[in-house]
């Protein structure tokens, strides 16, 4: 379980996270939604120890992230943030191989190689394995980074806007992949998403944020409702159920 306890983060005078407490138990897909500047990415950053909070703390399986060696955490939790610019000239396979670093510290075993190849296949990157990242499109690069995170084989996978540079087909494919990882490999997946429709139809749980606070937290049935969404986004968004899926109608 990931647990954030009374986490506060300020940048200058603006409070980005305001005394946030949240528990993310093991398993399933949790989506964090909310308008820009709500603090979603910061919350993800604090939970993954990339950002140090000004107050409060975070534990993972009972270990405080600020007191546990990074090497231990890296075998439990993987994080992918939005920026995918990279200084090095790396091939896709080089990058995915870095996902094994927490386990092998730079010396690849045969088992490691299998895991790497599997991750490359899962993300449809077979043909691109030896291509350099700077030769790829934004979406292809994004998939390569996700493959690296999968190769890390952690219980918890935190992804900040993993769909941002993917087209609809690839986004759906990616969400299917997350579903499989959660259901069959019992991974815990936390994603920040912009698109409410994706969250509404693929997440097991939705956390909605606004102004640095959590304003709604529950199953899609509980959160994807017109009154709740209006409270989050200040816009009345209609919710319709068609063939067991949720359709959102923007005003």
């Amino acid at each position: 379980m990931i647990e954030a306890i009374s986490v506060t983060k300020r940048y200058g005078s603006s409070v980005v996270l305001d005394d946030v407490s949240v528990k993310i138990p093991h398993g399933g897909i949790t989506a964090i939604i909310g308008p820009n500047g709500a603090g979603k990415s910061t919350l993800l950053g604090v939970m993954s120890r990339l950002i140090a909070p000004d107050a409060g703390h975070v534990t993972i399986d009972g270990m405080r992230v600020d007191q546990t060696p990074g090497a231990v955490l890296a075998r439990r939790l993987a994080i992918l943030r939005q920026d995918n610019h990279i200084m090095l000239r790396l091939t896709v396979r080089d990058l995915v191989a870095f996902g094994r670093y927490p386990h092998n510290h730079g010396r690849l075993s045969l088992a490691d190689r299998d895991i790497i190849e599997q991750a490359i296949r899962q993300l449809d990157l077979d043909a691109l394995g030896d291509r350099y990242l700077d030769e790829l499109s934004g979406g292809q690069r994004q998939r390569a980074f996700i493959a690296m995170v999968l190769a890390q084989e952690t219980d918890y996978i935190l992804l900040d806007e993993p769909l941002s540079s993917l087209d609809v087909q690839k986004s759906v494919q990616m969400l299917g992949l997350f579903r499989t990882a959660a259901d069959e490999l019992s991974r815990t997946i936390v994603i920040v998403v912009h698109d409410i429709a994706f969250a509404a139809n693929y997440a097991d749980r939705i956390i909605a944020m606004r102004d640095g606070r959590i304003v709604a937290d529950g199953s899609p049935d509980e959160v994807i409702r017109q009154d709740v969404l209006e409270e989050i986004y200040d816009v009345p968004i209609g919710v319709h159920h068609v063939d067991g899926r949720r359709l959102l109608a923007y005003p």
Partner: protein, 321 residues
């Protein structure tokens, strides 16, 4: 890693090694006229110095670039070697030339290196800690700091008595042609110890190249690794500056040549390549200038010329790097 890329990198490394050996052989023999008793020890010492300087400059530049996450910053450009000179001047300033010569040079060096580590950590905190600063601001700040350090040493040098100024000039005008070899064995020992420490962290350095957040996510202790790099860099810069004086652009030149030649991100390949390139540049450059053109100690100037142009080209090519 694509196997072909590894293979071609290894071939490149081998070629560089052969080139460096050739340079060593030529440097030892060309124009010796059979006076081996004199020539071999004399030139041998020089070669040992150049190799150590080449290694120090190349390794410190590559590691510093890994730690700062860009390829146009080097310790030289950030004014680290000017800082070393400034510290030396200030020491003479505070204890006098006589006190200076009275102290065991090894002890003195250790003290200076320790100060360097402290100051470079301070500099790093000042410039990089808050993060998100523009690269150009960092580089420009570094360049201006370098100018400031140089002016301050010059100023401090002028304020102390003219005799001590002369002493300093004498002390600092170590150059490629006239290296300060007194400390050579000691320097090799220090560099060896530092390299051992670096060797064990090589895989972590590779991960660091992915950037701070990714490195942390992969379990690298970012603060500790960067701290180690700064300490290593400070020691190496102190060594090379003490031996042959400041070289601003040489590290930039060889590190970027190495990135260009070696199609891999792995330090285990890049560091030797940069070192070999540095050794070749120093030996071949000195050889050509001395033997072919009959000039004296102009190597530094030629290197600065080439390095400065490289720097401008890098700036022109990609503003983000």
């Amino acid at each position: 890693m694509a196997n072909s890329a590894i293979r071609s990198s290894r071939q490149t490394l081998f070629g560089l090694f052969a080139g460096a050996m050739l340079c060593v052989a030529l440097f030892l023999t060309v124009g010796a006229n059979g006076q081996w008793d004199f020539v071999l020890p004399f030139r041998g010492t020089k070669i040992l110095t150049m190799v150590l300087v080449g290694y120090s400059v190349a390794v410190s530049a590559v590691l510093f670039q890994t730690a700062t996450g860009n390829r146009i910053l080097t310790p030289g450009i950030m004014g680290f070697d000017s800082l070393f000179i400034l510290l030396q001047t200030l020491i003479v300033f505070s204890i006098g030339a006589q006190g200076y010569t009275g102290i065991d040079p090894r002890l003195l060096f250790a003290g200076q290196a320790a100060l360097m580590i402290g100051f470079s950590a301070l500099l790093y905190r000042l410039l990089f800690h808050s993060g998100g600063r523009s690269l150009h601001l960092l580089v420009l700040t570094g360049v201006v700091l370098g100018i400031l350090f140089r002016s301050l040493s010059e100023f401090a040098g002028r304020v102390i008595s003219p005799n001590e100024y002369l002493f300093l000039q004498d002390r600092f005008f170590a150059s490629f042609n006239n290296p300060d070899t007194q400390l050579l064995a000691f320097s090799y020992g220090v560099v060896g110890a530092v390299s051992l420490m670096a060797w064990r962290m090589l895989p972590a350095f590779d991960v660091l190249g992915l950037g701070r957040e990714r490195a942390i996510s992969l379990g690298v202790d970012h603060r500790r690794t960067v701290g180690a790099i700064l300490a290593i860099t400070a020691v190496l810069v102190s060594i090379s500056t003490a031996l042959v004086g400041p070289v601003t652009f040489f590290g930039l030149l060889v590190s970027n040549l190495a990135y260009w030649l070696i199609r891999s991100h792995r330090h285990v390949l890049i560091l030797p390549a940069a070192t070999l390139l540095a050794v070749i540049a120093l030996l071949a450059g000195q050889l050509v200038l001395e033997q072919a053109l009959g000039f004296g100690t102009n190597l530094r100037v030629v290197l600065e010329f080439a390095g400065g142009i490289t720097f401008i080209l890098l700036l022109l090519r990609d503003p983000r790097r």
